[in-house]
């Protein structure tokens, strides 16, 4: 699914990622844990193609294609989804019309017709219900004035809608209370179908208690310094990042 080889990334002339290697197979759930400021979010932004994140060397293959050569929207259409730590506000754009537009962009790239209004409403209702999202949230402007929990749920709703093959979650647990964390995780777990892959970037163990990873990596100084199974996450939680 995804293979990162010898990746060096710099942001504004400062090297953040140094010789990163990571392979994620279909259906696998990987977690990257690391202290604040270690640059673990840089992995997420680089994979999604954020401007100013410069790949100095190395390469990334996604579904056997050269990911780095593609524009951000092409990566999305190819099936890469990044759930933002801080989802962006789009004033004046209602959530419903935004969701419909991004869905139609994906349908178009698959050669399908734009979705019919009635069908869209049906899908929206069903998927919103799974996340306990009230329908009136969709007549508000995208993320504008949303609470932290609403923003994160809206991210999960979008990943559900766009049906990606790789989901990268960047600190999705931040800003969520226990109830929101639980319902969000449940919705994510429903998307685990054995084919879809996940890369979960987090500081804390708590998200990983709800979404159990197959592999855990500890990130430090721009690279993966230790890998293991989910027990590694518990150890980090007990001992902290400093102790190895």
């Amino acid at each position: 699914m995804l293979e990162i080889k010898n990746l060096d990334v710099s942001v504004e002339d400062k090297q953040i990622i140094k010789n990163l290697n990571l392979k994620i197979g279909p259906g696998e759930v990987h977690a990257i844990m690391g202290p604040n400021g270690s640059g673990k979010s840089t992995i997420a932004h680089t994979l999604a193609g954020k401007p100013n994140y410069l790949v100095e060397s190395g390469n990334v293959e996604f579904k056997n294609e050269d990911l780095i050569a593609k524009d951000p929207y092409e990566r999305s259409l190819l099936g890469l989804f990044l759930a933002f730590q801080y989802p962006i506000e789009l004033p004046g754009v209602t959530n419903a019309s935004y969701l419909k537009q991004i869905l139609n962009a994906h349908r178009k790239s698959r050669g399908e017709n734009p979705i019919d209004a009635g069908e869209f409403l049906k899908i929206l209702k069903e998927k919103s219900k799974n996340l306990n999202i009230p329908m009136d949230m969709h007549s508000r402007f995208v993320n504008a004035g949303f609470s932290g929990g609403e923003k994160k749920k809206n991210e999960v709703l979008q990943m559900d809608l766009l049906d990606p093959s790789l989901i990268i979650m960047d600190e999705t647990d931040s800003g969520l209370d226990v109830d929101a964390l639980k319902s969000t995780s449940e919705a994510v777990n429903k998307l685990r179908d054995g084919k879809r892959s996940f890369l979960i970037i987090t500081h804390y163990l708590r998200l990983l208690e709800y979404i159990e990873p197959d592999h855990v990596h500890v990130f430090g100084d721009g690279s993966i310094i230790e890998s293991g199974d989910k027990s590694l996450a518990s150890r980090i939680d007990n001992e902290g990042y400093e102790v190895k």
Binding site: A48, G49, K50, P51, N52, Y53, A69, D71, P72, Y73, R75, S76, L77, F81, L82, F84, P87, I88, E89, L90, P91, G92, V93, Y98, Q101, I102, A105, H106, S109, F141, Q158, L162
Partner: protein, 480 residues
């Protein structure tokens, strides 16, 4: 790659830039009494109309071109312009569409305005003005049945002289300012609307202005009268061919709303804006003013300004009737070297009058976009209120946005509120939308349409979708 460049705009998307190859009849260049007499005689005008024009011309001689706009305007040689151009064989106006040159019908079809009624947009009556003449007006008979008059103003001068005499110049006096006075002297055609008492006009009325001939100014004149208790929604659209020269469009639009009447006036202005280097394009110097003459009357201006090399206009409301309401909703988009200095004036004279101003300026390329507004409360305008909101959106870093809101409050029971913001389309917003599968242009279009939403919502439904597309097209090529 991955670099989003928002500074460059392409201008190859102006799809209305074609010229209709049609023989036209022009009168000699220049501005003098003989020219004015000639225009008047071409229109078979009564003596009083000619006198009115000549009085305006007399006044014009002592007037000077105003210079205060925040725009670089090349000197215009008013003697080197054609003041009248019409398709040949228009001496006797065709009685029906069958008599009209098929090339003209084709032109309007290309512009998306079919004039054959069976093909026309249901619920919209259209007056099509080509250079200096109205070539066709649809649904005239149907509207006549309920007493609504919708016809070229040249026809109204002949058939409804009492109405025209009573109201023309009553909102924009012939002495107003240089371009308004020039228009009064040489105006050629435009629309006339009269809605009788207590009639809610069942159709959208629409005028489509097309400049075709070169070196020709278009001086249209529109007069809309809504009698007591009536309602009308009116929309104008404008396009012109791509030419290297600057062409002058100096229109006067007067609206009169009597007791309990409402006029909703919408403009989608898409005159040729000039090329990437700022060569050519229309000078759009327009005077638009509405008089809320009666109590409880309402006038609402909505404008989507995407075209013209220079746009210089302030659709205004004079709120004379007690409890009357004036509204101004504007989206002005400038790009490349375009310049816009636009806004409104709300003059509160009556008691309990209300006005609302929502202006959205979007500047890109090397353009300059100024909101200029005046809110004035007369000392007798007790308990009156104004709300003003001016938002500017910058695309790239070479453009300019200015906000110049003036207020004059002479009444201590009246109040005004003003909000203003300036923002840029952020890279984060673009990246967020692109991460969800929208390409750069679709992402920008989504964000800009969101920014304009409050104004676009004001447009009649039939045109709202078109306007959204126009907003997107104006921004094509700005990212990539």
């Amino acid at each position: 790659m991955n670099k989003i460049n928002k500074d460059n705009f392409k201008q190859d998307d102006y799809k209305y830039g074609f010229v209709t190859e049609i023989e036209n009849e022009k009168i000699p260049k220049g501005l003098n009494e003989d020219i004015i007499k000639l225009i008047s005689s071409k229109k078979n005008e009564p003596e009083w109309m000619l006198e009115w024009r000549l009085a305006a011309y007399e006044r014009l001689k002592s007037m000077e071109v105003p210079k205060w706009a925040r725009a670089n305007i090349a000197d215009i040689d008013f003697q080197d312009l054609y003041y009248y151009s019409s398709p040949k064989d228009f001496k006797d106006k065709p009685k029906s569409l069958e008599e009209i040159d098929p090339k003209l019908l084709e032109t309007y079809e290309k512009l998306g305005i079919p004039l054959k009624e069976q093909e026309a947009l249901a619920g919209v009556a259209v007056d099509a003005v080509f250079d200096s003449v109205s070539v066709a007006t649809t649904f005239k008979e149907k509207l006549n049945e309920i007493g609504v008059i919708f016809c070229p103003i040249s026809e109204a001068i002949q058939k409804h002289p009492d109405l025209v005499k009573k109201y023309i110049g009553s909102v924009i006096p012939v002495t107003d300012h240089f371009y308004a006075t020039l228009n009064s002297a040489v105006f050629s055609d435009g629309s006339f609307v009269y809605i009788p008492k207590n009639v809610k006009c069942p159709m959208e009325l629409s005028t489509y202005f097309r400049i075709n001939a070169s070196e020709t100014g278009q001086f249209e004149r529109t007069l809309i009268i809504a009698d007591e208790g009536s309602y009308v929604s009116y929309l104008e659209g404008c396009t012109a061919p791509m030419r290297d020269e600057n062409q002058l469009h100096a229109a006067n639009v007067e609206l009169v709303a009597l007791d309990n009447a409402e006029i909703k006036y919408s403009t989608v202005q898409n005159w040729y804006p000039g090329d990437e280097d700022g060569k050519g394009g229309i000078y759009n110097f327009v005077t638009k003013r509405g008089l809320c003459k009666g109590k409880n009357s309402k006038i609402s201006w909505t404008q989507i300004e995407t075209g013209s090399a220079i746009t210089w206009k302030y659709p205004s409301c004079i709120l004379r009737g007690d409890n009357s309401t004036g509204e101004f909703y504007s989206v002005a988009i400038t790009n490349n070297h375009q310049q816009a200095d636009t806004g409104t004036k709300m003059i509160h004279l009556g008691k309990n009058t209300k006005s609302r101003i929502v202006s959205k300026g979007i500047s890109a390329g090397k353009s300059s976009n100024t909101y200029r507004g005046l809110v004035n409360f007369h000392r007798k305008a007790e308990n009156s209120k104004n709300f003003t909101q001016c938002d500017s959106l910058l695309v790239g870093s070479n453009c300019k946005a200015n906000t110049i809101p003036l207020t004059e409050n002479n009444c201590n029971t009246s109040s005004l509120e003003h909000e203003a913001t300036t923002s840029k389309i952020s890279d984060d917003q673009l990246f967020y939308c692109m991460q969800r599968g929208l390409d750069a242009e679709a992402a920008q279009s989504l964000i800009v349409n969101g920014f304009c939403k409050e104004v676009l919502q004001q447009l009649p439904m039939e045109f709202a979708v078109e306007a959204q597309k126009l907003v997107s097209i104006s921004l094509e090529g700005s990212v990539g």
